[in-house]
């Protein structure tokens, strides 16, 4: 499985889909997050592999 982590929330998706599809499936807007894998930024067309952990970084922050 693939894990998406956004702040304290975790989502699981099947491997083989694109990151964009994984975000859509969980109602997460691509405009609201950047995605990293192993600390590196990845684009939404990335195909997710089994065991991937994608950390989502919220765009809106600060005050």
């Amino acid at each position: 499985m693939v894990k998406l982590v956004l702040r304290n929330q975790e989502y699981e998706v099947r491997p083989g889909m694109t990151l964009l599809d994984a975000l859509k499936k969980n109602d997460i807007l691509t405009e609201g997050v950047l995605c990293t894998r192993d600390g590196e930024l990845v684009t939404e067309d990335e195909i997710l592999k089994d065991g991937d952990v994608i950390k989502l970084i919220a765009v809106i922050s600060g005050g």
């Binding site: 405009e31 970084i57 922050s61 600060g62 005050g63």
Partner: protein
């Protein structure tokens, strides 16, 4: 996805520009764009002294980083608001102001940059939450008082230390959200004042927003790729705020129509330029110096900041 310039693997895809870039080209592209807007809107020139208001967030620290990389004379100003009460259920154990200050000092020290720090409690005897409790401006949230104090202090430091211009890290999403709010109420006077540059007047420093054409998401990418440590948590008082709600609404629009936020803001600037909202001279208020601090104010007597302080001291 490949970088449009070199064909290497892209790390950022900007759908509004139909442009994907690799790390190296992205880190060149953002400063180039910033410089383009500084020149386009005639914000400042290299001979001028710039004061960058830094909050510890990704946008203001990135702006300071970009201006340094571009060779501008840019010093920083941090205003410590005293939003640190960990006992408050709002804070979730976070010392927001202290952590912001730590990150800013680290940023400045690592790069050898000049940083002014003004602690509101030390300077005026009360933190922002304390001032808010005494004022009639805010209800439960101190955002209105916070904005008033920050505007006053930024202008004061810019004036006292002889800076030509005050730069803030407002990005396109910030501007679009403000514009959206003002459009809902057709707040023409506020719309007339919104723009990349607020010209200086006697007693008021020129204010500029060099990132006003760059999406918030793209600024986040810049901060991450440059390894800039910023405060990730939102200000505890901004949680649930209208401006964040408007940003989320606009992102939904952007999701289906890439470029919608940019078009909303740019077409507003064009419309304003062509005089759609009002004739400037008819609604521009006459300014008078405040009896106490000397900063310009619309009504004769004390300015809003000095009225707030007199309420607190009463």
């Amino acid at each position: 996805m490949k970088c449009r310039i070199c064909g290497q693997k892209a790390v950022v895809n900007m759908r509004q520009h139909k442009l994907a870039l690799c790390k190296d080209h992205y880190l060149e592209w953002i400063p180039e764009q910033t410089e383009r807007f500084i020149e386009k809107y005639k914000m400042f020139i290299r001979e001028e002294k710039v004061l960058v208001a830094v909050s510890g967030g990704k946008d203001s620290l990135s702006l300071w980083d970009i201006l340094q990389r571009l060779g501008y004379q840019a010093d920083g100003l941090y205003i410590c608001l005293g939003i640190d009460d960990q006992r408050s259920p709002l804070m979730g154990g976070l010392s927001y102001s202290s952590e912001s200050q730590r990150l800013i000092e680290k940023f400045a020290n690592e790069r050898g940059l000049k940083l002014h720090i003004l602690d509101v409690q030390k300077e005026y005897g009360a933190t922002i939450p304390q001032l808010n409790r005494k004022s009639h401006r805010g209800r439960s949230k101190p955002c209105s008082v916070c904005g008033l104090v920050k505007r006053h202090v930024m202008n004061r430091i810019a004036r006292d230390f002889g800076y030509d211009v005050l730069a803030t890290g407002h990005n396109l999403d910030d501007e679009a959200a403000v514009l959206f709010g003002n459009t809902l109420t057709w707040a023409g006077e506020f719309m007339l004042r919104q723009g990349p540059v607020l010209p200086g007047t006697p007693g008021l420093a020129r204010k500029v927003k060099p990132l006003c054409r760059i999406y918030e998401r793209d600024m986040l990418a810049y901060a991450l790729l440059r390894g800039i440590e910023y405060i990730y948590e939102e200000c505890p008082f901004s949680i649930g705020s209208t401006s964040i709600f408007y940003k989320q609404l606009l992102n939904k629009l952007e999701s289906d129509h890439p470029g919608a936020k940019q078009s909303f803001y740019l077409s507003f600037l064009e419309a304003r330029k062509s005089g759609l909202f009002a004739e400037r001279e008819k609604i521009q208020a006459e300014l008078h110096p405040c009896f106490n601090c000397g900063q310009p104010t619309s009504a004769p007597g004390l300015c809003s900041f000095c009225r707030l302080m007199s309420q607190y001291c009463r």
